[in-house]
Symmetry: C2
Subunit: 421 residues, 2 copies
């Protein structure tokens, strides 16, 4: 088998552990020098391939690559770029093949979510048709936890841990203040379509009455009266109320709760408000309760300082497995996580055909949400808890975590023409 | 000297380490059984004394008290209750003395900020006048870092560390996405009057061009044109822009930036918007940049999972010193932190008269803010950096930090009348 170089790209929203997958791909590829030459990383993901901006990872020290294991964000840059059908995106496919061929790239490792798995599938099919077959392997990643088949997705566990820990801590705070001050705390979490992250924050509660008292899922249309009644009941019984709200929370008519408020500046310009202010505003108006709210935003998906050890290990494992799949002749597959058992939690790595995961969005099972629609069930807890297990702290210097610093040297271009993208 | 009981109360906004001070008071008091009997903690702070709701900490196990060292929030509850002059608050003072006398309390340890130091001072003066002298010792606490004389305030260092770490991590995230997605990230931090916390987030930058690129301090009136120009310049040069904004940011006319936007719900009701949406809205309108923002809120002051080791140690030390001051006959003083040297950072505990700290609000020195008004100086960095040094992780179970669980047994009341407060 002739040696071919590999192309690795990060795709979509980044996470606290996607670089651990990158680290694994680069470190594992080194073990197969008879098959894989260099690992080129796309500068800003697949756009790097289209623009012929390939980062030569062999120019980085072993220490720098090793440091990726503990570094959040996407070290090589990412993008949300979905290739369509061959007819619609013919120029892009031709360009990809052209770049791959010019740089003797025979392997394509695509680290992303279900849209990316679709792209990887298309590239594997079309590269074959176009006479330059590429081995395409998908590496799962998403804080949304919505890739099909794989039991869970790298990136999710750490965001889940961050939210559960933060919810527990913030609850201690408001519990201290509630006698004569703040009665309501809302934590806004990511999740446009699925409540996985909101559910994870629910792990902070260990027994009845524990915060968070109310979780607002995108899956459960928000019944305002029911919600406000539960807030009141909780404040009456517990003294305060902690609410975790998904950014994708909706009303029964399908409209987003966040869209029910607008932010107007002094010039009269409008922006969509967030979910947290919307809920707080309705609570203040109905009950007069003083509130506080936090919007976790990027903090929940970049919090490598409190990453889940299970998540870090799995992110590495799927990257390692992807290379192993490639060198054993597999193609058009994604490395996946298999849950072998719950107690104790045991997992292994498997493979799944890209067709099975491309474009599918795994929904949160309805049995994970309890009957009143505002909490998680024990089945949900059983699923989630192992994913936030263990701590994997980065090293610190001067009070701050030490992350990787890469040179990011670009490979010399071989093609004369540029590609506008 | 006869044995008297002690009364300990937490006051004002709680922090990640105020319970470490509580732990210190209780553990240190045990060492002086000939002088201090039990330590009663006020249920919800000084309101507990007024309501005769005294928590008997001797009913807690040694392990539970020890666990306070790693527990955020205020374990005994807190309040913002400022006693005024004797004339205005005579009933409260008489009630306090009555409760203290009934329960043989001779020591009052008040753990709070400058308002609380004023209350402690008043109680020490008035208790003497009223024929039942109480030894009153202040224990410093505030994330605002604005108590006078003491070099820094417990609670601040951990919030500072949390913000610096989070800013660094979120910056890695947006740096990955900025080529074709989000260009601007705003982190909203606490600080109505002072920019200490905003400045601390600036520690994430190690060299020119590092994020955060812009810090909006309450001390520096926001010049909109200058701000927007710097945002544009930063995006042009770096590809993205990270902004840290204090909730107390103001315009030159003194109005709050957060008040320049209102949140309007579907019923037409208004609430003040936050600083982050206000800044993002103006950036979007002027430059069209896609943005994200996080509102740290309670997360920054409850993040015991990433507390600063220096902060935890100092919070304990001031609590311990307060008891030692009391048993050595001191009165109307506050334990304070003295910075002995910078490199290496060395500190010790001193004492300061309550008159010197009561009501004073220490401003951030103007030489801590650089010339263009959007960054910190090296002098500021030199001051701040040691305060975020070291990690002091709590133990974990099932992925979550283990915090103290107290029984909080109330002492039997001795007084017949109640006090409405």
């Amino acid at each position: 088998m002739s040696i071919k170089h590999a192309f690795y790209a990060q795709s979509g929203g980044v996470t606290a552990v996607i670089n651990a997958s990158a680290c694994a791909v680069i470190e594992t590829a080194r073990r197969y020098p008879d098959q894989i030459g260099k690992v080129y990383a796309g500068h800003n993901g697949i756009l790097g391939a289209l623009r012929e901006e390939l980062i030569d990872t062999s120019q980085e020290s072993h220490e720098a690559i090793g440091a990726l294991h503990r570094t959040p964000g996407g070290a090589f840059g990412s993008c949300r770029y979905k290739l369509k059908s061959f007819e619609e995106s013919e120029a892009e496919y031709r360009r990809l093949i052209e770049v791959f061929q010019a740089h003797n790239i025979g392997y394509f490792f695509y680290n992303g979510g279900n849209d990316s798995m679709d792209t990887a599938l298309k590239v594997s099919q079309l590269s074959e048709k176009m006479g330059y077959p590429i081995t395409c392997i998908g590496i799962p990643k998403t804080i949304d936890n919505d890739l099909a088949v794989t039991d869970n997705c790298p990136g999710f566990g750490s965001a889940a841990k961050y939210l559960a820990v933060s919810t527990k801590e913030a609850s201690h705070d408001i519990a201290s203040m509630c006698d004569n001050s703040t009665k309501v705390f809302v934590m806004e979490v990511m999740g446009r379509h699925a409540g996985w992250l909101a559910a994870a924050a629910g792990l902070a509660a260990r027994q009845n009455g524990d915060p968070p008292h109310i979780i607002v899922f995108p899956e459960t249309p928000l019944n305002k009266e029911k919600f406000l009644a539960k807030v009141k009941k909780t404040v009456d019984e517990e003294g305060y109320c902690v609410i975790v709200a998904s950014e994708g929370a909706k009303y029964a008519d399908g409209s987003f709760v966040s869209a029910s408020t607008t932010v107007i500046d002094s010039f009269g310009h409008h922006q969509l408000g967030g979910v947290a202010p919307a809920l707080c505003t309705m609570i203040k108006r109905e009950h007069g309760f003083k509130y506080h709210y936090a919007v976790a935003d990027y903090l929940q998906r970049s919090a490598r300082h409190i990453a889940s050890r299970v998540d870090v290990e799995q992110a590495y494992a799927v990257g390692k497995a992807a290379v192993e799949l490639a060198v054993t002749g597999k193609n058009a597959v994604m490395s996946s996580i298999i849950r072998e058992s719950n107690a104790p939690y045991r997992w292994s790595i498997g493979e799944v055909q890209l067709e099975e995961v491309a474009n599918y969005e795994k929904k949160m099972p309805m049995e994970f949400i309890d009957d009143d629609g505002f909490g998680i069930t024990s089945v949900c807890r059983e699923y989630l808890e192992p994913l936030i297990e263990g701590e994997e702290y980065p090293p610190y210097l001067n009070g701050l975590p030490r992350f990787a610093k890469l040179k990011k040297v670009l490979v010399e271009k071989k093609l004369n023409d540029s590609f506008d993208v």
